[in-house]
Symmetry: D2
Subunit: 135 residues, 4 copies
Protein backbone atom coordinates (compact mmCIF):
# COMPACT_ATOMS: atom_id res chain seq x y z
CA UNK A 1 0.00 0.00 0.00
CA UNK A 2 1.38 3.38 -1.00
CA UNK A 3 0.69 6.68 0.74
CA UNK A 4 -0.38 9.43 -1.64
CA UNK A 5 0.29 13.15 -1.34
CA UNK A 6 -0.72 15.93 -3.73
CA UNK A 7 1.24 19.12 -4.29
CA UNK A 8 0.66 21.72 -6.96
CA UNK A 9 3.85 23.44 -8.07
CA UNK A 10 3.63 26.94 -6.62
CA UNK A 11 5.39 30.19 -7.43
CA UNK A 12 7.69 29.78 -4.41
CA UNK A 13 9.01 26.44 -5.69
CA UNK A 14 10.27 27.84 -9.01
CA UNK A 15 13.57 29.37 -10.02
CA UNK A 16 14.52 31.94 -12.67
CA UNK A 17 14.60 29.11 -15.23
CA UNK A 18 10.88 28.65 -14.50
CA UNK A 19 11.24 25.13 -13.09
CA UNK A 20 11.20 23.72 -9.57
CA UNK A 21 14.46 24.64 -7.80
CA UNK A 22 15.74 21.27 -6.59
CA UNK A 23 16.19 22.18 -2.89
CA UNK A 24 12.47 23.05 -2.80
CA UNK A 25 11.72 19.43 -3.79
CA UNK A 26 13.34 18.32 -0.54
CA UNK A 27 10.96 20.52 1.44
CA UNK A 28 8.06 18.87 -0.41
CA UNK A 29 9.55 15.41 0.21
CA UNK A 30 9.66 16.30 3.91
CA UNK A 31 6.04 17.57 3.77
CA UNK A 32 5.04 14.23 2.22
CA UNK A 33 6.86 12.29 4.97
CA UNK A 34 5.23 14.54 7.61
CA UNK A 35 1.77 13.91 6.08
CA UNK A 36 2.56 10.16 5.98
CA UNK A 37 3.39 10.08 9.70
CA UNK A 38 0.28 12.13 10.47
CA UNK A 39 -2.33 10.50 8.24
CA UNK A 40 -0.71 7.16 7.38
CA UNK A 41 0.89 6.20 10.70
CA UNK A 42 -1.32 8.27 13.01
CA UNK A 43 1.88 9.56 14.61
CA UNK A 44 1.94 13.32 13.91
CA UNK A 45 5.39 14.93 13.76
CA UNK A 46 4.31 17.54 16.32
CA UNK A 47 3.75 14.72 18.83
CA UNK A 48 6.85 12.71 17.87
CA UNK A 49 9.06 15.78 18.15
CA UNK A 50 8.15 16.45 21.76
CA UNK A 51 10.57 13.74 22.91
CA UNK A 52 12.58 12.87 19.87
CA UNK A 53 13.04 13.29 16.16
CA UNK A 54 13.18 11.30 12.91
CA UNK A 55 16.16 12.71 11.01
CA UNK A 56 16.99 11.68 7.45
CA UNK A 57 20.41 10.02 7.37
CA UNK A 58 20.71 9.44 3.63
CA UNK A 59 18.69 10.31 0.56
CA UNK A 60 19.20 9.56 -3.13
CA UNK A 61 17.16 11.46 -5.67
CA UNK A 62 16.74 11.57 -9.43
CA UNK A 63 14.97 14.30 -11.41
CA UNK A 64 14.21 12.70 -14.80
CA UNK A 65 12.15 15.68 -16.05
CA UNK A 66 11.60 19.25 -14.84
CA UNK A 67 8.38 20.48 -13.20
CA UNK A 68 6.82 23.83 -13.96
CA UNK A 69 4.65 26.34 -12.11
CA UNK A 70 1.08 25.04 -11.97
CA UNK A 71 1.90 21.36 -12.51
CA UNK A 72 -0.16 19.04 -10.32
CA UNK A 73 2.24 16.54 -8.76
CA UNK A 74 1.19 13.27 -7.14
CA UNK A 75 3.70 11.82 -4.69
CA UNK A 76 3.60 8.15 -3.73
CA UNK A 77 5.52 6.86 -0.72
CA UNK A 78 6.20 3.22 0.09
CA UNK A 79 8.18 1.72 2.94
CA UNK A 80 10.90 -0.59 1.64
CA UNK A 81 12.49 -1.75 4.89
CA UNK A 82 11.79 -1.44 8.60
CA UNK A 83 14.75 -1.80 10.96
CA UNK A 84 14.86 -1.68 14.75
CA UNK A 85 15.09 2.12 14.81
CA UNK A 86 15.22 2.94 11.10
CA UNK A 87 12.93 2.87 8.09
CA UNK A 88 13.69 3.08 4.39
CA UNK A 89 11.21 4.55 1.97
CA UNK A 90 11.00 5.17 -1.73
CA UNK A 91 8.95 7.92 -3.26
CA UNK A 92 7.97 8.97 -6.74
CA UNK A 93 6.38 12.19 -7.96
CA UNK A 94 4.44 12.17 -11.22
CA UNK A 95 2.64 14.79 -13.28
CA UNK A 96 0.10 12.74 -15.18
CA UNK A 97 2.09 9.84 -16.61
CA UNK A 98 5.46 11.56 -16.45
CA UNK A 99 7.84 10.79 -13.62
CA UNK A 100 9.40 13.96 -12.29
CA UNK A 101 11.23 12.66 -9.21
CA UNK A 102 12.22 9.36 -7.66
CA UNK A 103 13.87 9.19 -4.29
CA UNK A 104 14.84 6.67 -1.64
CA UNK A 105 15.88 7.57 1.85
CA UNK A 106 16.51 6.31 5.37
CA UNK A 107 14.90 7.79 8.48
CA UNK A 108 16.04 7.02 12.00
CA UNK A 109 13.95 7.30 15.13
CA UNK A 110 16.04 9.10 17.76
CA UNK A 111 15.62 10.33 21.32
CA UNK A 112 15.73 14.03 22.23
CA UNK A 113 19.51 13.79 22.58
CA UNK A 114 19.91 12.13 19.21
CA UNK A 115 20.41 8.46 20.09
CA UNK A 116 18.68 5.83 17.91
CA UNK A 117 15.74 4.24 19.67
CA UNK A 118 13.53 1.31 18.64
CA UNK A 119 10.29 2.30 16.91
CA UNK A 120 7.30 2.06 19.25
CA UNK A 121 5.40 -1.15 18.38
CA UNK A 122 2.34 0.73 17.18
CA UNK A 123 4.42 2.73 14.69
CA UNK A 124 6.41 -0.32 13.58
CA UNK A 125 3.29 -2.28 12.75
CA UNK A 126 1.80 0.67 10.86
CA UNK A 127 5.06 1.11 8.92
CA UNK A 128 4.82 -2.52 7.85
CA UNK A 129 1.37 -1.89 6.35
CA UNK A 130 2.95 0.53 3.88
CA UNK A 131 5.66 -1.94 2.89
CA UNK A 132 5.73 -2.61 -0.85
CA UNK A 133 5.81 -6.11 -2.29
CA UNK A 134 9.02 -6.70 -4.20
CA UNK A 135 11.38 -3.77 -4.04
CA UNK B 1 42.24 20.58 -6.68
CA UNK B 2 39.16 21.05 -4.50
CA UNK B 3 37.02 24.18 -4.30
CA UNK B 4 36.39 25.32 -0.73
CA UNK B 5 33.31 27.08 0.61
CA UNK B 6 32.60 28.19 4.17
CA UNK B 7 29.16 28.36 5.75
CA UNK B 8 28.34 28.96 9.37
CA UNK B 9 25.17 27.21 10.48
CA UNK B 10 22.61 30.00 10.92
CA UNK B 11 19.32 30.22 12.78
CA UNK B 12 17.37 29.85 9.53
CA UNK B 13 18.99 26.47 8.79
CA UNK B 14 17.86 24.83 12.03
CA UNK B 15 14.71 22.95 12.93
CA UNK B 16 12.84 22.49 16.22
CA UNK B 17 15.24 19.65 17.07
CA UNK B 18 18.02 22.28 17.01
CA UNK B 19 19.88 20.73 14.06
CA UNK B 20 20.14 21.63 10.39
CA UNK B 21 16.87 20.75 8.62
CA UNK B 22 18.04 18.56 5.74
CA UNK B 23 16.33 20.50 2.90
CA UNK B 24 18.33 23.56 4.00
CA UNK B 25 21.53 21.60 3.31
CA UNK B 26 20.49 21.39 -0.35
CA UNK B 27 20.23 25.18 -0.51
CA UNK B 28 23.77 25.39 0.89
CA UNK B 29 24.96 22.73 -1.58
CA UNK B 30 23.52 24.89 -4.35
CA UNK B 31 25.20 28.00 -2.89
CA UNK B 32 28.52 26.10 -2.92
CA UNK B 33 28.01 25.07 -6.57
CA UNK B 34 27.05 28.67 -7.43
CA UNK B 35 30.21 29.98 -5.71
CA UNK B 36 32.26 27.31 -7.55
CA UNK B 37 30.96 28.45 -10.94
CA UNK B 38 31.57 32.08 -10.00
CA UNK B 39 34.97 31.89 -8.30
CA UNK B 40 36.29 28.52 -9.46
CA UNK B 41 35.17 28.47 -13.10
CA UNK B 42 34.80 32.22 -13.66
CA UNK B 43 31.35 31.49 -15.09
CA UNK B 44 28.89 33.21 -12.74
CA UNK B 45 25.42 31.69 -12.56
CA UNK B 46 23.84 35.07 -13.31
CA UNK B 47 25.65 35.06 -16.68
CA UNK B 48 25.06 31.36 -17.43
CA UNK B 49 21.36 31.70 -16.69
CA UNK B 50 20.80 34.41 -19.28
CA UNK B 51 20.70 31.79 -22.04
CA UNK B 52 20.52 28.48 -20.26
CA UNK B 53 20.69 26.65 -16.97
CA UNK B 54 22.62 23.92 -15.15
CA UNK B 55 19.98 21.79 -13.46
CA UNK B 56 20.84 18.96 -11.08
CA UNK B 57 19.59 15.67 -12.50
CA UNK B 58 20.55 13.37 -9.62
CA UNK B 59 22.01 13.80 -6.15
CA UNK B 60 22.93 11.29 -3.45
CA UNK B 61 23.58 12.56 0.04
CA UNK B 62 24.58 11.13 3.42
CA UNK B 63 24.36 12.95 6.76
CA UNK B 64 26.68 10.97 9.08
CA UNK B 65 26.34 13.46 11.97
CA UNK B 66 24.03 16.39 12.72
CA UNK B 67 25.10 20.05 12.56
CA UNK B 68 24.04 22.63 15.11
CA UNK B 69 23.45 26.38 15.13
CA UNK B 70 26.81 28.17 15.16
CA UNK B 71 28.85 25.30 13.71
CA UNK B 72 31.44 26.45 11.18
CA UNK B 73 31.16 24.15 8.17
CA UNK B 74 33.80 23.80 5.46
CA UNK B 75 32.53 22.43 2.16
CA UNK B 76 34.93 20.91 -0.38
CA UNK B 77 33.83 20.29 -3.96
CA UNK B 78 35.70 18.17 -6.49
CA UNK B 79 34.73 17.33 -10.05
CA UNK B 80 34.69 13.56 -10.58
CA UNK B 81 33.71 13.37 -14.24
CA UNK B 82 33.22 15.75 -17.14
CA UNK B 83 30.91 14.63 -19.94
CA UNK B 84 29.96 16.40 -23.17
CA UNK B 85 27.20 18.41 -21.49
CA UNK B 86 27.30 17.02 -17.94
CA UNK B 87 29.58 17.15 -14.91
CA UNK B 88 29.66 15.00 -11.81
CA UNK B 89 30.89 16.38 -8.52
CA UNK B 90 31.37 15.11 -5.02
CA UNK B 91 31.23 17.33 -1.98
CA UNK B 92 31.92 16.95 1.71
CA UNK B 93 31.09 19.27 4.58
CA UNK B 94 33.13 19.05 7.78
CA UNK B 95 33.02 20.78 11.14
CA UNK B 96 36.60 20.48 12.33
CA UNK B 97 37.47 16.82 11.80
CA UNK B 98 33.91 15.57 11.77
CA UNK B 99 32.19 14.83 8.48
CA UNK B 100 28.64 16.15 8.51
CA UNK B 101 27.62 15.62 4.88
CA UNK B 102 28.88 13.83 1.79
CA UNK B 103 27.15 14.18 -1.53
CA UNK B 104 27.65 13.36 -5.17
CA UNK B 105 25.58 14.79 -7.98
CA UNK B 106 25.28 15.33 -11.71
CA UNK B 107 24.76 18.70 -13.35
CA UNK B 108 23.74 19.16 -16.97
CA UNK B 109 24.37 22.22 -19.10
CA UNK B 110 21.13 23.02 -20.94
CA UNK B 111 19.85 25.67 -23.32
CA UNK B 112 17.06 28.08 -22.40
CA UNK B 113 14.50 25.53 -23.59
CA UNK B 114 16.07 22.74 -21.55
CA UNK B 115 18.05 20.77 -24.15
CA UNK B 116 21.51 19.46 -23.16
CA UNK B 117 24.30 21.42 -24.80
CA UNK B 118 28.06 20.81 -24.83
CA UNK B 119 30.00 22.79 -22.20
CA UNK B 120 31.77 25.79 -23.71
CA UNK B 121 35.47 24.90 -24.07
CA UNK B 122 36.57 27.48 -21.53
CA UNK B 123 34.27 25.99 -18.88
CA UNK B 124 35.19 22.41 -19.78
CA UNK B 125 38.89 23.06 -19.35
CA UNK B 126 38.29 24.85 -16.03
CA UNK B 127 36.11 21.93 -14.82
CA UNK B 128 38.99 19.58 -15.56
CA UNK B 129 41.27 21.58 -13.27
CA UNK B 130 39.03 20.68 -10.34
CA UNK B 131 39.03 16.98 -11.19
CA UNK B 132 40.24 14.81 -8.32
CA UNK B 133 42.89 12.14 -8.75
CA UNK B 134 41.45 8.72 -8.05
CA UNK B 135 37.76 8.82 -7.28
CA UNK C 1 -16.38 38.79 1.29
CA UNK C 2 -13.12 37.35 2.60
CA UNK C 3 -11.06 34.62 0.94
CA UNK C 4 -10.11 31.82 3.34
CA UNK C 5 -6.99 29.70 3.29
CA UNK C 6 -5.99 26.91 5.68
CA UNK C 7 -2.43 26.04 6.63
CA UNK C 8 -1.29 23.67 9.33
CA UNK C 9 2.02 24.68 10.90
CA UNK C 10 4.52 22.13 9.60
CA UNK C 11 7.97 21.06 10.77
CA UNK C 12 9.62 23.12 8.02
CA UNK C 13 8.02 26.34 9.29
CA UNK C 14 9.49 26.11 12.79
CA UNK C 15 12.75 27.32 14.26
CA UNK C 16 14.93 26.05 17.11
CA UNK C 17 12.68 27.98 19.52
CA UNK C 18 9.84 25.69 18.35
CA UNK C 19 7.76 28.49 16.83
CA UNK C 20 7.15 29.63 13.26
CA UNK C 21 10.26 31.38 11.91
CA UNK C 22 8.89 34.72 10.72
CA UNK C 23 10.29 34.58 7.13
CA UNK C 24 8.33 31.33 6.64
CA UNK C 25 5.12 33.30 7.36
CA UNK C 26 5.85 35.38 4.27
CA UNK C 27 5.98 32.24 2.15
CA UNK C 28 2.58 31.25 3.56
CA UNK C 29 1.24 34.77 2.94
CA UNK C 30 2.37 34.39 -0.66
CA UNK C 31 0.75 30.93 -0.88
CA UNK C 32 -2.50 32.49 0.36
CA UNK C 33 -2.29 35.28 -2.24
CA UNK C 34 -1.52 32.68 -4.93
CA UNK C 35 -4.54 30.58 -3.87
CA UNK C 36 -6.67 33.76 -3.86
CA UNK C 37 -5.72 34.59 -7.45
CA UNK C 38 -6.32 30.97 -8.47
CA UNK C 39 -9.57 30.17 -6.64
CA UNK C 40 -10.89 33.63 -5.76
CA UNK C 41 -10.09 35.58 -8.93
CA UNK C 42 -9.87 32.68 -11.38
CA UNK C 43 -6.55 34.15 -12.53
CA UNK C 44 -3.93 31.50 -11.64
CA UNK C 45 -0.41 32.80 -11.00
CA UNK C 46 1.02 30.34 -13.53
CA UNK C 47 -1.08 32.05 -16.22
CA UNK C 48 -0.48 35.60 -15.01
CA UNK C 49 3.27 35.03 -14.88
CA UNK C 50 3.53 34.09 -18.55
CA UNK C 51 3.45 37.75 -19.54
CA UNK C 52 3.85 39.66 -16.32
CA UNK C 53 4.03 39.51 -12.57
CA UNK C 54 2.33 40.85 -9.43
CA UNK C 55 5.17 41.88 -7.12
CA UNK C 56 4.59 43.02 -3.55
CA UNK C 57 5.77 46.60 -3.15
CA UNK C 58 5.15 47.05 0.56
CA UNK C 59 3.99 44.86 3.42
CA UNK C 60 3.39 45.56 7.10
CA UNK C 61 3.03 42.65 9.47
CA UNK C 62 2.37 42.10 13.17
CA UNK C 63 2.85 38.82 15.04
CA UNK C 64 0.80 39.25 18.24
CA UNK C 65 1.34 35.63 19.38
CA UNK C 66 3.63 32.79 18.31
CA UNK C 67 2.44 29.72 16.37
CA UNK C 68 3.67 26.22 17.10
CA UNK C 69 4.16 23.01 15.13
CA UNK C 70 0.77 21.39 14.52
CA UNK C 71 -1.33 24.54 14.96
CA UNK C 72 -4.16 24.82 12.45
CA UNK C 73 -4.09 28.34 11.05
CA UNK C 74 -6.94 29.97 9.16
CA UNK C 75 -5.96 32.90 6.95
CA UNK C 76 -8.53 35.44 5.80
CA UNK C 77 -7.75 37.87 2.98
CA UNK C 78 -9.78 40.94 2.08
CA UNK C 79 -9.12 43.53 -0.59
CA UNK C 80 -9.02 47.02 0.90
CA UNK C 81 -8.37 49.12 -2.20
CA UNK C 82 -8.20 48.59 -5.94
CA UNK C 83 -6.12 51.05 -7.96
CA UNK C 84 -5.52 51.23 -11.69
CA UNK C 85 -2.66 48.73 -11.54
CA UNK C 86 -2.41 48.07 -7.81
CA UNK C 87 -4.40 46.34 -5.10
CA UNK C 88 -4.16 46.56 -1.33
CA UNK C 89 -5.13 43.66 0.85
CA UNK C 90 -5.26 42.89 4.52
CA UNK C 91 -4.91 39.42 5.95
CA UNK C 92 -5.24 37.83 9.35
CA UNK C 93 -4.21 34.37 10.52
CA UNK C 94 -5.94 32.86 13.53
CA UNK C 95 -5.60 29.64 15.48
CA UNK C 96 -9.03 29.18 16.99
CA UNK C 97 -9.86 32.57 18.49
CA UNK C 98 -6.28 33.74 18.83
CA UNK C 99 -4.85 36.12 16.23
CA UNK C 100 -1.36 35.07 15.26
CA UNK C 101 -0.65 37.42 12.35
CA UNK C 102 -2.12 40.52 10.77
CA UNK C 103 -0.72 41.98 7.62
CA UNK C 104 -1.51 44.57 4.98
CA UNK C 105 0.27 44.85 1.67
CA UNK C 106 0.21 46.35 -1.81
CA UNK C 107 0.49 44.33 -5.01
CA UNK C 108 1.16 45.84 -8.41
CA UNK C 109 0.27 44.31 -11.75
CA UNK C 110 3.32 44.66 -14.01
CA UNK C 111 4.32 43.67 -17.53
CA UNK C 112 7.12 41.20 -18.25
CA UNK C 113 9.62 44.07 -18.14
CA UNK C 114 8.33 45.36 -14.84
CA UNK C 115 6.16 48.32 -15.84
CA UNK C 116 2.83 48.84 -14.03
CA UNK C 117 -0.13 47.94 -16.17
CA UNK C 118 -3.87 48.37 -15.55
CA UNK C 119 -5.60 45.29 -14.18
CA UNK C 120 -7.58 43.45 -16.86
CA UNK C 121 -11.27 44.32 -16.37
CA UNK C 122 -12.22 40.76 -15.46
CA UNK C 123 -9.64 40.72 -12.63
CA UNK C 124 -10.55 44.22 -11.46
CA UNK C 125 -14.22 43.34 -11.09
CA UNK C 126 -13.37 40.12 -9.26
CA UNK C 127 -11.01 42.04 -6.92
CA UNK C 128 -13.89 44.35 -6.07
CA UNK C 129 -16.01 41.40 -4.95
CA UNK C 130 -13.51 40.70 -2.19
CA UNK C 131 -13.48 44.30 -1.03
CA UNK C 132 -14.34 44.65 2.66
CA UNK C 133 -16.95 47.07 3.95
CA UNK C 134 -15.40 49.64 6.21
CA UNK C 135 -11.65 49.28 6.51
CA UNK D 1 26.81 54.02 13.84
CA UNK D 2 25.26 51.61 11.34
CA UNK D 3 26.02 47.91 11.07
CA UNK D 4 26.80 46.83 7.52
CA UNK D 5 26.07 43.47 5.91
CA UNK D 6 26.78 42.35 2.35
CA UNK D 7 24.71 39.87 0.38
CA UNK D 8 24.98 39.05 -3.28
CA UNK D 9 21.67 38.07 -4.84
CA UNK D 10 21.93 34.33 -5.44
CA UNK D 11 20.01 31.92 -7.66
CA UNK D 12 18.02 30.63 -4.67
CA UNK D 13 16.68 34.13 -3.91
CA UNK D 14 15.09 34.63 -7.33
CA UNK D 15 11.67 33.76 -8.71
CA UNK D 16 10.44 32.92 -12.21
CA UNK D 17 10.19 36.67 -12.91
CA UNK D 18 13.98 36.78 -12.38
CA UNK D 19 13.82 39.05 -9.31
CA UNK D 20 14.21 38.42 -5.59
CA UNK D 21 11.10 36.64 -4.28
CA UNK D 22 10.01 38.86 -1.39
CA UNK D 23 9.87 36.14 1.33
CA UNK D 24 13.57 35.47 0.62
CA UNK D 25 14.31 39.07 1.59
CA UNK D 26 13.02 38.30 5.08
CA UNK D 27 15.51 35.46 5.40
CA UNK D 28 18.27 37.89 4.42
CA UNK D 29 16.92 40.49 6.88
CA UNK D 30 17.13 37.81 9.57
CA UNK D 31 20.69 36.89 8.47
CA UNK D 32 21.63 40.58 8.81
CA UNK D 33 20.12 40.76 12.30
CA UNK D 34 21.92 37.52 13.23
CA UNK D 35 25.23 38.92 11.95
CA UNK D 36 24.54 42.16 13.87
CA UNK D 37 24.05 40.28 17.16
CA UNK D 38 27.17 38.21 16.46
CA UNK D 39 29.60 40.84 15.19
CA UNK D 40 27.99 44.09 16.33
CA UNK D 41 26.73 43.15 19.79
CA UNK D 42 29.09 40.23 20.49
CA UNK D 43 26.01 38.22 21.48
CA UNK D 44 25.79 35.37 18.94
CA UNK D 45 22.31 33.98 18.27
CA UNK D 46 23.55 30.44 19.00
CA UNK D 47 24.40 31.57 22.55
CA UNK D 48 21.27 33.71 23.04
CA UNK D 49 19.03 30.88 21.89
CA UNK D 50 20.27 28.45 24.53
CA UNK D 51 18.01 30.09 27.13
CA UNK D 52 15.75 32.37 25.18
CA UNK D 53 14.95 33.95 21.84
CA UNK D 54 14.56 37.33 20.14
CA UNK D 55 11.40 37.04 18.04
CA UNK D 56 10.28 39.74 15.64
CA UNK D 57 6.91 41.12 16.74
CA UNK D 58 6.27 43.52 13.88
CA UNK D 59 8.00 44.45 10.64
CA UNK D 60 7.17 46.98 7.93
CA UNK D 61 8.93 46.73 4.61
CA UNK D 62 9.01 48.60 1.31
CA UNK D 63 10.54 47.34 -1.94
CA UNK D 64 11.01 50.48 -4.06
CA UNK D 65 12.88 48.62 -6.85
CA UNK D 66 13.45 44.97 -7.73
CA UNK D 67 16.78 43.15 -7.26
CA UNK D 68 18.18 40.71 -9.78
CA UNK D 69 20.44 37.67 -9.70
CA UNK D 70 24.03 38.79 -9.25
CA UNK D 71 23.26 42.19 -7.70
CA UNK D 72 25.58 43.10 -4.83
CA UNK D 73 23.39 44.37 -1.99
CA UNK D 74 24.65 46.35 0.99
CA UNK D 75 22.41 46.26 4.05
CA UNK D 76 22.69 48.90 6.77
CA UNK D 77 21.07 48.39 10.16
CA UNK D 78 20.57 51.08 12.79
CA UNK D 79 18.89 50.81 16.16
CA UNK D 80 16.11 53.40 16.50
CA UNK D 81 14.88 52.65 20.01
CA UNK D 82 15.89 50.50 22.96
CA UNK D 83 13.17 49.50 25.40
CA UNK D 84 13.37 47.43 28.57
CA UNK D 85 13.07 44.14 26.68
CA UNK D 86 12.59 45.35 23.10
CA UNK D 87 14.60 47.04 20.38
CA UNK D 88 13.50 48.76 17.19
CA UNK D 89 15.72 48.82 14.15
CA UNK D 90 15.56 50.22 10.67
CA UNK D 91 17.40 48.72 7.75
CA UNK D 92 18.03 49.65 4.15
CA UNK D 93 19.45 47.57 1.31
CA UNK D 94 21.07 49.32 -1.62
CA UNK D 95 22.63 48.20 -4.89
CA UNK D 96 25.03 51.02 -5.68
CA UNK D 97 22.98 54.18 -5.21
CA UNK D 98 19.61 52.54 -5.68
CA UNK D 99 17.52 51.67 -2.64
CA UNK D 100 16.00 48.21 -3.01
CA UNK D 101 14.48 47.69 0.45
CA UNK D 102 13.71 49.68 3.56
CA UNK D 103 12.38 48.05 6.66
CA UNK D 104 11.72 48.79 10.29
CA UNK D 105 10.97 46.18 12.90
CA UNK D 106 10.69 45.41 16.60
CA UNK D 107 12.54 42.59 18.34
CA UNK D 108 11.75 41.38 21.84
CA UNK D 109 14.11 39.58 24.17
CA UNK D 110 12.22 36.62 25.65
CA UNK D 111 12.92 33.73 28.00
CA UNK D 112 12.81 30.10 26.87
CA UNK D 113 9.08 30.02 27.62
CA UNK D 114 8.41 33.18 25.65
CA UNK D 115 8.09 35.84 28.36
CA UNK D 116 9.68 39.27 27.73
CA UNK D 117 12.82 39.80 29.78
CA UNK D 118 15.00 42.90 30.21
CA UNK D 119 18.05 43.02 27.93
CA UNK D 120 21.24 42.08 29.79
CA UNK D 121 23.14 45.34 30.53
CA UNK D 122 26.04 44.43 28.27
CA UNK D 123 23.67 43.95 25.30
CA UNK D 124 21.67 47.09 26.13
CA UNK D 125 24.74 49.28 26.15
CA UNK D 126 25.99 47.78 22.89
CA UNK D 127 22.55 48.32 21.29
CA UNK D 128 22.80 51.99 22.24
CA UNK D 129 26.06 52.31 20.33
CA UNK D 130 24.21 51.49 17.12
CA UNK D 131 21.50 54.05 17.79
CA UNK D 132 21.10 56.56 14.95
CA UNK D 133 20.97 60.31 15.55
CA UNK D 134 17.61 61.67 14.54
CA UNK D 135 15.22 59.01 13.35
Amino acid sequence: MAFEFHQKVLFKHCDPAGIVFFPRYFEIINDCVEAFFDQGLNAPFHDLHRNGAVPTVQIQTQFPAPSRHGDELVFQLEITQVGRSSADYKMTACCGDEVRLTTSATLVNVTANGRPEAWPDVIRSKLTEFKGGAT
